[in-house]
Amino acid sequence: MPPQGQAAKPVLEVRNVTKFFGDLAALKEVSLTIARGESVFLYGPNGAGKTTLLRMLASLARPSSGEVLFDGKNLERDGVAAKSAIGFVSHAIFLYGELTVRENLRFFGRLFRLDGLERRIDAALDMFEMRSREDALVRDLSRGLQQRTSLARAFLHDPDFVVLDEPFTGLDTQSVARLEDLLRRLPEQGKALLFSTHDFEQGAAIANRLIALKAGRVRYNGPLASAPFEELGIQRSNGQKVHD
């Protein structure tokens, strides 16, 4: 549950956003809000527009029409300030292969102008159990370890709004469990979480709200518990019990 007094305040507001790639509309008049303390699961089939939407919220893509507001400010015009509060993990790891794990975190930490950087790096490395690999070149790491480093990069600046696109990619069972636990605790800290995963049950076990996308349109936006699964074409594998 969101901390008292913060529930109603949207940290993010998407207003009638449409995104074209050439003639193809990846998103069609998408509107939604996300408040602090909310954990939102973005679900949809391939090509639904999930990645496009998440990239837009991380300020990596611009809407063709409509606007995205972060803390009331237009992300396109006042994006620099908003970026300090957003942590993003994508399919791409955003890490330099020729730098070590610690060097990568130090570089991105400096771009974020973080105080007490080495302490923060230590904390991020511990959070994703990468301390023993801190001096390894990223190019020499397995995909799973690279993903953990990418997660450490995204959490390094303690973001208020965490945007994760398929964050469990390449992770082993133990790392998946640790990340799930971390994501479940974010709302308690007053942070907003928006993430996508193709494993519906995994997402449902973390989030308290579902946004279902199909063909670039929002088909459902509401509590997970009351989602019309059959109408959305979602087959539950463990009955109807969802995280509340």
Binding site: K83, F94, E98, L137
Partner: protein
């Protein structure tokens, strides 16, 4: 001060990446030396012939070695979408431009020293009598060329035929810097008692500053999808 720290971080990062893979500088130097050597092999090295040809030989070598460097500069950014990782940070895109441009300027500057040293040996020509003038011309010519290479390298990095695209996009504009640099270098190498080299150097500096400022201002639009 904060901006300087950001620029410094990007520059140091590029130097560290280069130190680890040793791809950019080595390929620039080898390619530049090859061009200087081939021209030396093809022409007489009599003094008048050298004075006529060497400025163009050197700037052609610098131009082609630069293209290699600019392509490599953004290859490491393209890998793992690192350039997007940088744009996720609350950093003015122009700071990214300055950091990348300084790294390109440094690599090209080192390659130029190597090429000039080789030209001294192979063309049996001493740059020492007009060293100050030549360094000034080389600095401004390289600055403008590196600025164009940085912005066009970033544009080409997002295209399919990126190696070809960089050359096609950059050379029609870089032509003006190269032409003025060749002219100024030629005058400086001849000793130029009339002081024409200074006017030439001023023209190189002027056009380079214009291209550098324009690239600085336009870089944020290049980083957009």
């Amino acid at each position: 001060m904060t901006s300087l720290k950001i620029i410094w971080s990007i520059l140091i990062k590029d130097l560290r990446v280069e130190w680890r893979n040793r791809e950019t500088l080595a390929s620039m130097c080898v390619f530049g030396l090859l061009i200087v050597f081939l021209f030396n092999f093809s022409f007489e090295t009599a003094r008048e012939e050298t004075l006529r040809l060497l400025p163009a030989v050197l700037w052609v070598a610098i131009a082609f070695a630069g293209v290699l460097g600019f392509n490599r500069s953004f290859a490491s950014e393209r890998e793992n979408s690192c350039i997007e990782g940088m744009t996720l940070a609350p950093v003015d895109p122009s700071m990214i431009f300055v950091g990348k441009m300084l790294a390109n300027l440094l690599f090209l500057g080192i390659a130029e020293v190597v090429m000039a040293f080789a030209a001294t040996l192979w063309f049996n020509f001493s740059f020492l009598p007009s060293l100050g003038e030549l360094v000034l011309i080389a600095f401004f010519g390289t600055l403008g060329y590196a600025a164009l290479g940085t912005i066009f390298g970033a544009i080409a990095a997002n295209t399919r035929m990126r190696e070809v695209m960089l050359t096609v996009l950059q050379f029609p504009i870089a032509f003006w810097i190269l032409m003025l640099s060749i002219d100024a270098t030629s005058n400086a190498m001849r000793g130029d008692p009339g002081g024409n080299w200074a006017g030439g150097a001023a023209r190189v500096a002027g056009i380079s500053v214009v291209f550098t400022v324009a690239s600085f201002l336009l870089f944020e639009y290049v980083l957009e999808e």
